[in-house]
């Protein structure tokens, strides 16, 4: 009786462990490895390491990343072109930047069938803007802390909330630049950032975070960020 109870308990624990692992790591690294080999990527080890860094983040877009790799493998681009469309994604992962915007832009470029160089330029500019925006928020005293960590000050935001701000501010600047906007029009950039953040406030952005950021941003800050991506 006791043995049977132990077996049941062991089965239950194994089942729970399996479910937990499945929930945490949506797609196993070995699947990513196979997808990378199909692209192909010259340095699979580095690519896997970058993805491993990404999967450690709560907001890592596993499925979108896998879709991107799978579609990239089936495009008519040359091998070097395909790899060039991953360089900035992996660099962003290594820098701990949120990559949602990069992946969705890459997928859009593939769907539109635009030349690989256009996608590469867009991804490269967006990665620089992500890094510069994050640095700008740091400079403004707004930081990220690991989810669950005690929030000592109001300006220390949990990483997913912080990353959302970084993504939407940098994407707004990138969209403006791609649309022919001038980096010197800081006031215009600020208006566009304000519109996007307030439109998403309460939907996916914390209203207090939006208020905090908009209170601290100046037109000149956004000009500086935009200039870094075009210089």
């Amino acid at each position: 009786m006791s043995t049977r109870r132990t077996e049941c308990l062991a089965t239950f624990l194994a089942l729970m462990l399996g479910l937990t692992l499945t929930a945490h790591a949506d797609i196993p690294l070995i699947d990513f490895e196979a997808a990378l080999a199909a692209v192909p990527v010259s340095d699979v080890g580095r690519a896997i390491a970058a993805i491993e860094v990404g999967t450690g983040q709560q907001d890592f877009p596993s499925f979108e990343m896998m879709q991107y790799l799978q579609r990239l493998a089936t495009t008519a681009y040359s091998e070097s072109e395909r790899e060039s469309l991953l360089v900035d994604v992996f660099a962003a992962l290594e820098e701990g930047l949120p990559i949602d915007g990069l992946i969705t832009k890459g997928l859009e470029g593939l769907a539109r069938g635009v030349p690989a160089v256009s996608i590469h330029q867009s991804l490269h500019q967006r990665r620089i803007l992500l890094a510069e925006t994050r640095d700008l928020l740091y400079a403004k005293g707004i930081f990220s802390v690991a989810p669950g960590s005690p929030q000592s000050v109001d300006t220390a935001l949990p990483t997913p909330r912080f990353n959302l701000l970084v993504t939407h501010i940098s994407d707004t600047i990138a969209d403006s630049l791609e649309g022919g906007g001038s980096p010197f029009e800081g006031q215009m950039l600020l208006q566009e950032v304000r519109f996007r953040l307030t439109s998403l406030s309460g939907a996916i952005l914390n209203p207090a975070d939006v208020e905090l950021v908009l209170k601290r941003l100046e037109p000149a800050d956004l000009t500086r960020v935009a200039l870094s991506a075009v210089s």
Binding site: R112, S199, L200
Partner: protein, 193 residues
């Protein structure tokens, strides 16, 4: 002395003259109005309509009057129709997004009039830029799809017979992407739908 007396006489005569004339001016305005009223011809219905239509010296006030009267009649008829035939007084609005579903998503309506199209789809960052087909069951050229989406910002474009078209009139904004337009919808939140 004699000249002084003469002056006094003249002054008194003048005062009397003025007093009498002032009495004659009493109720002058009322009398004029009354007399004009007596002389004004009585208008019949035909004359009244002719006067309404005819241009006047100050412009086309007469014609404008007719237009105004017609508009007023139309408004009255419209109001009557609306109240008696169950029409809503407010302008019809296309409902772009429904209230929240139990899972936190909203049914977002994508609508595109494309009369000659054989196939219409929508692609966007909500479906990883993979086409979701729009349907036109009654074949009136209005293609629709309802897609459940969680709150957020969505970039998208329609694909009409393989051709991308990114300027949805129902979009909240447009962005340039790879040299083309993409539409943007905000679902939930501040200024969104």
């Amino acid at each position: 002395m004699k000249s002084i007396d003469l002056d006094d006489v003249l002054r008194a005569a003048l005062r009397q003259e003025v007093a009498e004339a002032a009495g004659g001016l009493d109720d002058l305005e009322e009398r004029i109005v009354f007399e004009l009223g007596e002389r004004r011809p009585r208008l019949r219905v035909g004359d009244w309509l002719r006067q309404l239509i005819a241009p006047t010296r100050s412009g086309r006030i007469g014609q404008l009057g007719l237009v105004g009267a017609t508009a007023a009649i139309c408004l009255l008829v419209g109001f009557f129709a609306a109240t008696h035939f169950g029409l809503d007084g407010a302008a019809p609005r296309i409902q772009r997004a429904s209230p929240l579903n139990a899972d936190g998503t909203q049914e977002v309506l994508f609508v595109l009039p494309a009369l000659d199209a054989n196939e219409v789809a929508v692609v966007g960052n909500f479906n990883s830029w993979e086409p979701t087909t729009l349907t036109d069951e009654d074949e009136d050229g209005i293609w629709t799809a309802s897609i459940p989406l969680p709150p957020g910002r969505y970039e998208y474009a329609f694909v009409i017979d393989g051709r991308w078209w990114g300027q949805d009139p129902l979009a909240d904004e447009y962005v340039h992407s790879f040299g083309e337009y993409s539409s943007v919808r905000y679902i939930g939140g501040g200024d969104g739908a």
